[in-house]
């Protein structure tokens, strides 16, 4: 019996020839990640176990992205604690200030994750790096401490669910529309404990930014990881970035899957997930007339250069509707700089957008764009749970950058064709 890419990566990191779903394996990790809200608990546990060093000072990464620029005194204290820990233990990859971006945009960009890696992160969207053909999964702070200290952790080998995508991508359709479609199809626990694997001809024509965006939301279907095949697009992306050795794994033709779904992407139209579940997915065209107070374009899901480009293409020559706040958040300093050089910022500023520094900010209701009672936001982020972006009686509609930008102009949920 063949193995899936996920099974092969876990087997290789557990020094095993073969593993199968349901088995528990002790596997080496290549990278351990935490942020400004999850690292403090990890560091408390680190002290509690009496550890004196991390397994590898090059492979523990701390990114101060959630409540930064520090929103209040406790947030500042947390960053200070992590900064001091990083200095004391010689952590190379501590990111804050002008070096910092949203973690799941920053790590691939910096070449910290390569194909075939096993990555754990104390952040549920760590599944993003599956876009690079890595096994990458979110864990809690205590599991992260275990990984930081031992360089390993235990994993239950997940069953895999395959999505075979064929057809030609239509204008304005991105990886976000694909993943929203999938979550709408299988539900928020449709892939609980399982691996969500992308395959098919349409995947080879999907950009790396779109793959990162799709893998990012695997967790929203309950998945343990989301994973893409490694191809020329992947190798071109990592060529000048990943400096350490990596290994390319591919699923065997006779690998076993719990389920296989076929998706014709040529039939995908712009998707929106309505409150209060990411699975409550409709076509943007069905939602015309729903007024918005805010549009957020950013996050670990959609704050990359492709997203900035799409938003700029839609917003060019238009104005954000009166009474709508459009907040654009380039996810990293490099994306910020490129957006500036390519003239996107001029478009955003002419349209009346707010340009935010890289931060998770409003996505999780932290700061930099919180909603009042009764307010509604269209947002390129990943969760629309009750109170996610502010008041428990506010609402979040999730979409890709094209719908969010078009909606900002119209003042109500809009399809990009209504503008461009």
């Amino acid at each position: 019996m063949g193995m899936t890419i996920t099974e092969k990566i876990l087997a290789a990191h557990a020094d095993r020839e073969y593993v199968e779903p349901g088995e528990i394996v002790d596997a080496r990790i290549d990278l351990a990640l935490a942020n400004d809200i999850t690292a403090p608990l990890s560091l408390q546990e680190f002290a509690r176990v009496g550890a004196t060093k991390v397994f590898d000072t090059e492979r523990v990464v701390f990114v101060m992205d959630h409540f930064t620029p520090n929103k209040d005194i406790p947030s500042a204290e947390n960053c200070k604690t992590i900064r001091e820990f990083s200095k004391k233990y010689g952590i190379t990859h501590f990111y804050e200030g002008g070096a910092c971006g949203v973690e799941h945009a920053l790590l691939p960009e910096k070449g910290l994750v390569g194909p075939g890696d096993v990555v754990i992160g104390a952040d549920s969207h760590t599944c993003t790096y599956g876009a690079l053909g890595a096994f990458s999964t979110g864990v809690g702070s205590t599991d992260l401490t275990y990984g930081m200290v031992t360089g390993s952790n235990w994993f239950k080998v997940p069953e895999s669910i395959k999505f075979v995508c064929s057809g030609k991508w239509q204008p304005w359709i991105t990886g976000k529309d694909l993943i929203l479609h999938i979550i709408g199809m299988i539900g928020v626990d449709g892939a609980l404990y399982a691996s969500l694997e992308f395959a098919g001809d349409a995947i080879s024509t999907l950009s790396m930014d779109s793959r990162l965006s799709a893998a990012n939301m695997a967790i929203e279907a309950g998945a343990k990881n989301g994973i893409f095949p490694v191809d020329e697009t992947t190798l071109a992306y990592i060529r000048d970035r990943v400096k350490r050795p990596y290994q390319v794994f591919q699923s065997d033709p006779d690998a076993r899957y719990r389920e296989v779904f076929e998706i014709d992407v040529s039939k995908l139209d712009s998707k929106v997930a309505c409150p209060f579940l990411p699975s409550n997915v409709k076509d943007a065209k069905e939602l015309k007339g729903i007024r918005i107070d805010q549009a957020v374009i950013g996050s670990c899901t959609n704050g990359r250069l492709e997203d900035m480009r799409i938003a700029a293409e839609i917003l060019k020559g238009h104005k954000v509707a009166k009474d709508v706040r459009c907040i654009v958040i380039p996810a990293t300093p490099a994306i910020y700089y490129e957006s500036l050089k390519k003239g996107y910022f001029e478009v955003f500023l002419d349209a009346g957008c707010i340009i935010s520094p890289p931060t998770c900010g409003p996505c999780l209701g932290g700061h930099m764009g919180i909603l009042a009672r009764g307010e509604r936001s269209i947002s390129t982020t990943n969760r629309n749970f009750v109170g996610r972006m502010g008041h428990p009686e506010s609402e979040v509609y999730l979409s890709g950058p094209a719908v969010a930008a078009a909606s900002a102009i119209k003042g109500e949920i809009a399809h990009p064709e209504e503008i461009a």
């Binding site: 952040d123 809690g140 009750v386």
Partner: protein, 163 residues
Amino acid sequence: MTLKGKVWKFGDNIDTDIIIPARYLASTDPKELGSHCMEPVAPDFPKKVAAGDIIVAGSNFGSGSSREHAPIAIAALGIPLVIAKSFARIFYRNAFNKGLPLLEANLYDVVKEGDVVEADLSTGIVTCGGVQIAAKPIPPFMLELIDAGGLIGYLRKQLEGQR
């Protein structure tokens, strides 16, 4: 080990933003986190719940973020057990790592809020008003971890062995 407590019912997809909204995550203080537990759907819950009470929920409990603040907030209120139809996977690991046991069983459709249930963690048998329900057994590997004092106890032993 047997636990007996009064039931508080919550539905499907109780996500971690409900269990503890992100705006409170700058704190790691269990008491502070507990005081905001379930705030978006039941603002009075932390005041009304008593130590020993048990949460009974629908499917996909603990979905969403990896924040360990969620099981910490629940445990801080003295809640010794959550019984749900199913759990999101990161929350499942986190709860056991933090010493909050979970049982997977469909009790939600059987009990009313305020009912008293009794759960035997070793057998997974949950009893309520004469009705017995067998929960999905806790995986043997998780039981081993619990015996070792959770993941941190397990790690501490490993580190002591190296010294």
